[in-house]
Symmetry: C2
Subunit: 151 residues, 2 copies
Amino acid sequence: MTMDTPASSAPLADPMAHRLGYLLRRASSTMMADLGGALTPFGVSPVEATVLAVIGANPGCTQSDIARLLGIKRANMVPIIARLGAEGLVEKTPMNGRSSALRLTAAGESSHRAVEETMDRHEARFEAMLAGHDIAELRATLMLIIQPQED
Amino acid sequence: MTMDTPASSAPLADPMAHRLGYLLRRASSTMMADLGGALTPFGVSPVEATVLAVIGANPGCTQSDIARLLGIKRANMVPIIARLGAEGLVEKTPMNGRSSALRLTAAGESSHRAVEETMDRHEARFEAMLAGHDIAELRATLMLIIQPQED
DNA sequence: TATTGTTATACTCTATAACTATA
DNA sequence: TATAGTTATAGAGTATAACAATA
């Protein structure tokens, strides 16, 4: 015999609160939502900001390079790069008949700098909430979980 | 003068590797993908499995209760509960004219048990990868990051 | 033959607004 | 007046399959 908890009045039991996968998903979406809000003034999404950062750090890289690094499917890079190109932030210069080298335009560089500062502040805001916890250890642990994406 | 890294041959620099939000997102999607694969034999998605767990732990709860607990919008619960209802896993019994109490059916209970075991093994698999790291501390840190969703 | 970029497509998740009905 | 459930809709994100061109 199990008792039926009168769930409507009392707070619910959270059977997921102990699960790492669940906590990661909730923590991730909290930070993604915050970053999305912080980036709206610049008209770029978190993914676009990330791609700007990768191209900024690796001028001349290709779409496939970025896809592999970020764990995004090749096919899904197309609209991302197209949008960044349409906004005049990224330019493609053909390397050999099949790949193009990606670089930030002047506008892209300036957007990149603004976005990096925004991300820095965003990260600092959350790190402040973790005072007394070992953030380097947290990063190291997360890196152990991450597995490369096969395409 | 900045140098153009010959990005095509050498591995790319990863300017996001130090960012907590990025690492959380990658770690989360690694675990979500793994869980999704582990659940396919049961025909339920990670979200559906989570809702089964919540109803199993809180018989008689409402859709809105679950939405609040999991940070899902009220409107987005509708298709989730509809699917679980159509699969005969969850039943709704009207409480008062506007809310229904949710409970697992017999099939739902059995699905719930199978799914919990699958999640346990899934979690254990990842915790094994974190040997030597303090998982309780990891959970505590993640809980600090998570912020309740306003609807 | 393997890789790059692309098109098309579909499914899920998420978000908003608006409506009904009930408490 | 606030809450529960719903509908409709729109936008991301993600996945697959297939194709052309190139290395």
